[in-house]
């Protein structure tokens, strides 16, 4: 009788021990999984924007000729909205969509001032009244990847014509919103806030230079620079400043954020150029998002026919 009792006790003990071990294994594995998920989050889901009506679209042949469209396959919306460089929200490309969720873009105004005859503050609704067009542009990031994006917007030229730049205006300076409440990563010092960019006046007046208010037929998602951003397709992506609040016409070359950050790595011009390597990597090839392997990077991102004349006689290695 006593013997039996002992045996039962031992098996109960072993069972309990096995149970505890199973619990430890399951518990730690769950904790590790949660930690991994936390540190390496999967892409966020996208909230839909409002539909934007495009008034004009150039005929296809014509659009292909003047650079308003390219025949390359479009990058899927999922990729365009989940792979972003927008340091105001997050420095991880996959984290921007989540961090920018719910970014409030109304009310919004863009102040256009400086060397102009008619300085003016444009409300977002006024900006949306410009004749919107679809532009299918290649976007080449300085990091060595690229996309093809169907933007909706209007030529910056149209806006500048309304404020009438004076004869002394030679450059255009742009500024992103500065509001650490709404752009939480501005509380960190990863860049000098606010983000600023600049173009030469002729670059700003070029018909390919647009202010985009949407993509894929809808208003811009926050992570892509809502509600209004610059798009300059022949320059590296960081020149296409996002969430613009201020445009100033100036006489001298304005400071630009990445140039201030690392002057030897990011020049004022930053035209896409496969022959001028970044000090830390080559710019000869790029990874088109969604493709395997790499493709050759084109001079001026393939827009040479339209823009090369602006840089005639200029040393593109010196003026990188």
């Amino acid at each position: 009788m006593e013997e039996k009792l002992k045996i039962t006790e031992k098996s109960v003990y072993l069972n309990r021990r096995n149970f505890m071990r199973a619990a430890v294994l399951a518990g730690t594995a769950t904790a590790t999984s949660l930690l991994y998920r936390r540190l390496n989050p999967p892409p966020a889901e996208r909230t839909e924007g409002e539909k934007l009506a495009t008034a004009t679209n150039a005929p296809k042949e014509e659009a292909l000729n003047n650079g308003y469209a390219v025949s390359d396959a479009l990058t899927p919306l999922e990729a365009i909205t989940n792979y972003n460089n927008f340091y105001e929200f997050d420095t991880s490309k996959s984290g921007v969509a989540y961090a920018a969720k719910g970014f409030v873009t109304r009310p919004w105004a863009v102040a256009v001032a400086g060397l102009v005859n008619k300085p003016r503050v444009f409300d977002l609704d006024e900006l949306l009244k410009f004749q919107l067009e679809e532009r299918i542009y290649r976007l080449r990031c300085v990091e060595g990847w690229s996309m093809v994006i169907p933007w909706i917007g209007f030529p910056l030229q149209k806006l500048l014509e309304q404020v009438e730049p004076t004869s002394t205006a030679r450059y255009v300076a742009f500024q992103t919103l500065l509001d650490p409440q709404r752009m939480p990563n501005q509380r960190t010092g990863v860049l000098d806030w606010p983000y600023v960019e600049g173009l030469r006046l002729d670059e700003a007046m070029h018909p390919l230079t647009i202010l985009a208010t949407g993509l894929y037929g809808e208003t811009l998602p926050p992570q892509d620079g809502a509600p209004i951003r610059l798009v300059v397709p022949w320059k590296y992506g960081f020149k296409s400043i996002k969430s613009v609040v201020k445009i100033t016409l100036v006489a001298d070359e304005p400071p630009t954020t990445w140039n201030l950050q690392a002057p030897d790595e990011y020049g004022f011009y930053s035209n896409v150029n496969p022959n001028v390597p970044h000090p830390r990597w080559s710019q000869a090839t790029e990874r088109r998002i969604g493709e395997y392997g790499r493709r050759d990077t084109l001079l001026f991102n393939g827009y040479g026919e339209q823009v090369a004349h602006m840089y005639q006689g200029m040393d593109l290695v010196k003026n990188f």
């Binding site: 594995a29 892409p43 990729a79 792979y83 996959s94």
Partner: protein, 207 residues
Amino acid sequence: MSDSRFGKIVVFINSLVPLVLLFWDLYHKRVGPNPLEFVTRTTGMLTLIFLSLTVAVTPLRKIFGINALVKYRRMLGLFAFFYGALHLLTYVWFDRLFNFVSMVQDVARRPFILVGMTAFVLMVPLAITSTNKMVKRLGGKRWARLHQLVYLAAIAGVVHFWMLVKSDIRLPLTFAFILLFLLGFRLFSKYAPAQPPNAGGNLFPRE
């Protein structure tokens, strides 16, 4: 099954969890628009994490007096090597498609790759000599000296990470601090002045 054997299974399973989830995400195409970058980044981070865990074992043992931790050090180190190998393989296979010419050109332009490769090469002899047999063959002292290379590998790994970021150095900085602390602790406990027995408790016992 003994408790230490069970402990090893727990460490082993937990170390494999990230790999399983990575494959799960790959299979379900939940790795974002640039899968190559996602996999490279993930395996690279895992390598640094496991390297940090490996060099953390001795300081943790000494600070908290949990000597049993040393039983898991080899496994953690081998996992660092394993994830490092995956990281390198991702680059060689999927980024460069085994094209060695393109690799040489790329390395010439991006020196941080060379630093990362150095870190990996430094781990190779450590992985090879990780068996009990090799410890015996080399003799404990020589083996221990050889395995101090792990610090060089970890430093090279952090430098490699630091060199590739554009401006947000917070993460590499974190790894650098962890490493500096762990390395500092080792040096301190080695060269700290002798203390009378029990005066300092067992917080920093001499080796």
